[in-house]
Symmetry: C2
Subunit: 91 residues, 2 copies
């Protein structure tokens, strides 16, 4: 368990109301970080990805950082834009 996880546990102990809100944000944090990593692996800038998706770099930044949620289709096209496949499993 890393430092972030430890921090989260402490916050939940102190303030139970904190948990639920953060769970949601935490998931999205992971997705954004995943997508950013995929983009960097591909050696692309946000602007380059934006062009492939017919949008602007600000939208890419939002997805990688502050997006509260994301459509499956957006996830798929982002993955395609950075040359990766999106695998989905319900297990």
């Amino acid at each position: 368990m890393d430092d972030l996880d430890k921090y989260i546990e402490k916050r939940i102990q102190k303030n139970p109301g904190f948990a639920k809100c953060f769970d949601q944000g935490y998931e999205q944090f992971k997705i954004g970080a995943m997508l950013k990593q995929a983009r960097l692996d591909a050696g692309l800038t946000q602007e380059q990805v934006a062009e492939k998706l017919h949008t602007k770099k600000s939208a890419i930044s939002r997805i990688e950082n502050h997006a509260e949620d994301i459509r499956l289709s957006t996830l798929e096209s982002f993955a395609a834009a950075v040359g990766k496949n999106l695998r989905l499993e319900v297990a």
Copy 2:
């Protein structure tokens, strides 16, 4: 390759414009079918899943059949409602 795939190939040969539109719909078809299968595996009705998600059975039917797109958060909570985990990979 099953009959559906054969049908799709024929349609694409006859009408190239058909391909792109269907790709999108096809993906969503698969997701809906996946979720339906997961629900049946769990032995739940649409109405039971709907209650867990604080919504109505008509919404579940739409997701399983006609949904054009779906939010990641919806995907996650649907999976949770039928007792499964959603795994996501960008590879």
